[in-house]
């Protein structure tokens, strides 16, 4: 039967393939949206790990996570080092890593921090940061690069870099009076860490010694670094601080205390909660797209059934000859049913191939935009369920033309 069916479909190749393509395209749409969403969600959730809380100036938690974890946007406020030191003295804290943001190098964000950053900050499922080359910075003139930075700018251990004030390179904004030497390069993590440059906070403070309100007042060459007092290079303010607690049980108490800190308006954000809040916004858009693509799939299935019904009239001769040669109505109905399954399966196989290509490129885009790289996969259990559902819906809807064929009296077709 299948060979008869395939030959019959080949004789109607243009309408049949157009319907197959439209079904395939709608599935590609649905699946790409689903995959990008899953990938983004996975990437989002894996972007930071091992951090119990992030403290920063009082603002929305989403904002704080956006610039501390994703290095997106600009911090509107800083918190004072004094406050950070106060928090550090709390008994429930296991570790604290301050960070200062704001500068960049050739479009890559600079994160000024302390060497213990590489020890405490983790990603994915508590994966530690590992150096692929070199070691963490120890001196204020040293820097560590994320893997993408090193790869794209072809830097290696020993390269010298200069930092730009702010996130956009413009004339006169370069800290060209001081260079940093790369001492280490991190392994690829698939998180925004890959696109960051890490400096020592003291080095970062040194860069800004001659600056006031975003303008350079005097050159570092004009001052004698050895004559600076010890505390001159301790920054007065930082952007935020990552915190690890001794016990997670104290987390809510801790964040409540932080909110109530009397001397400065600060807040503590729990990364997991902030990420899921952020995700719920992104996810909403995604749900809308998903609904749309299901509607498009339904339309494609209706188009397929319409095509089959319309073709029945043209296939009267074919059907009559089968019947006259002894084919049962069941045979004809099965033929119609199988046609929808063949169309469905072809569309599914095509969709898998196309989606794989689409996600491959979309993943690269996602990585570029958010610094997250979701894992790449062929087909998931959920997708198999979606495909089966579509195939089933197609087969069920083709029962309409199949029953039309079944009920047709042979005599009606014979004469």
């Amino acid at each position: 039967m299948l060979s008869l069916l395939l030959k019959s479909m080949r004789s109607r190749v243009i309408p049949t393939s157009l319907v197959t393509i439209s079904l395939m395209a709608s599935m590609v749409l649905l699946l790409s949206i689903e995959r990008i969403q899953q990938g983004a969600e996975e990437g989002f959730n894996q972007s930071i790990s091992g951090v119990d809380a992030i403290i920063g100036p009082r603002s929305s938690s989403i904002e704080l996570v956006l610039y501390t974890v994703f290095h997106l946007g600009r911090p509107t406020n800083n918190i004072t080092t004094k406050t950070v030191n106060d928090v550090k003295l709390r008994g429930d804290i296991s570790w604290l890593v301050p960070i200062a943001l704001g500068d960049s190098h050739k479009g890559f964000r600079v994160v000024a921090t302390e060497p213990n950053y590489f020890e405490h900050i983790k990603y994915a499922n508590s994966q530690p940061l590992v150096f692929s080359k070199g070691v963490a910075f120890a001196e204020l003139s040293e820097a560590v690069l994320g893997s993408d930075v090193a790869e794209k700018l072809s830097y290696t251990v020993g390269s010298e870099i200069q930092i730009t004030h702010g996130s956009v390179e413009s004339i006169g904004s370069k800290h060209d009076d001081f260079s940093f030497m790369v001492t280490g390069i991190l392994n690829k993590t698939g998180t925004p860490i890959d696109q960051a440059i890490f400096l020592d906070l003291k080095g970062y403070e040194l860069l800004h010694l001659g600056w006031k309100s975003g303008k350079k007042i005097f050159n570092l060459d004009d001052i004698d670094l050895s004559s600076l007092p010890d505390d001159a290079l301790i920054p007065k303010t930082v952007t935020a601080a990552f915190i690890g607690l001794k016990s997670k049980l104290t987390l809510f108490n801790f964040s409540k205390n932080i909110r109530e800190y009397p001397k400065e308006a600060i807040s503590a954000v729990i990364p997991g909660i902030a990420l899921s809040e952020l995700w719920s916004i992104v996810g909403l858009v995604d749900k809308g797209f998903q609904l749309l693509s299901w509607i498009i799939i339904a339309i494609s299935l209706i188009a397929m059934v319409t095509l089959i019904i319309a073709s029945l009239d043209n296939r009267k001769q074919e059907m009559t000859i089968y019947r006259a040669n002894g084919a049962s109505p069941k045979f004809l109905a099965m033929m119609v049913l199988c046609e929808s399954i063949v169309i469905g399966l072809t569309a599914i196989v095509g969709a898998i191939i196309l989606v794989t290509i689409v996600t491959y490129f979309a993943t690269a885009q996602l990585n570029l935009a958010l610094g997250i790289s979701p894992s790449f996969k062929w087909i998931s259990m959920d997708e198999i369920k979606v495909f089966s559902l579509i195939l089933l819906a197609g087969a069920l809807s083709s029962l309409i033309p199949a029953s039309m064929v079944f009920r047709k009296n042979l005599h009606q077709t014979l004469s």
Partner: protein
């Protein structure tokens, strides 16, 4: 082999036809003649089991149509009957051989009577006066005469007991009709098979053993 007694058929639009009694034995060739619209095709459909009986019964060897389900009638048709239409006998997207092979496609018993399909197809095609090249010609490029020969080959493949032919020559000119009928009658196995042909063309009567004239019956 086949007996049709007391057949009547009432169409949905109300017209009723009472058919003459028909009896046919193996080796017999029966021509039913009469002007169009007199119910010849309906009679063939009843005999083919494509149309359910309303009154009377058809006895085919030891089986009665009135006691068979539609599904059994389909199987019966596949096993015992070869059918030739007036026109449009062939499926355009199949090759000539594939069209002929459809004759035994739905019947195990007819399949078992064909030892070597390709050989049998060439024998039939040769006997029916088709050139060997015709087997490789797309169906759409065959002449009407050639198409009817392919249809006859399909109806004869696997030696069904009964060949039903519904005005197979109506689209052919008189020379081609003669040639076609000569070849079909030659290929027809008069020891095992029977044939019922309906036609409004009385000039083909000499090819048949028995002629039933519907017009006379009704008069």
């Amino acid at each position: 082999m086949l007996e049709a007694l007391g057949l009547e058929y009432r169409y949905q639009h109300g017209k009723k036809i009472v058919f003459p009694e028909i009896e046919i034995k193996r080796g017999q060739r029966l021509l039913i003649s009469g002007f169009s619209g007199c119910g010849k095709t309906t009679l063939l459909s009843l005999i083919a089991g494509a149309l359910r009986l309303q009154a009377g019964d058809i006895k085919f060897d030891s089986t009665n149509y009135s006691s068979m389900s539609s599904l059994l009638l389909d199987k019966h048709r596949a096993d015992h009957i070869g059918y030739i239409f007036q026109t449009l006998n062939l499926i355009p997207f199949l090759s000539v051989s594939e069209n002929i092979a459809l004759g035994i496609r739905f019947s195990q018993s007819r399949k078992s009577k064909v030892a070597d399909l390709n050989q049998e197809i060439s024998r039939l095609v040769g006997s029916l006066g088709l050139e060997k090249d015709a087997l490789n010609t797309p169906v759409s490029r065959l002449s009407v005469g050639q198409q009817q020969r392919v249809a006859a080959a399909r109806a004869l493949l696997g030696k069904p007991d009964l060949i039903l032919a519904d005005e197979p020559t109506s689209a052919l000119d008189s020379d081609t009709t003669k040639k076609f009928l000569n070849e079909v009658m030659e290929t027809f196995d008069s020891t095992k098979q029977a044939m019922i042909m309906v036609s409004h063309d009385a000039s083909i009567a000499p090819y048949f053993d028995t002629v039933i004239d519907f017009n006379k019956q009704h008069a």
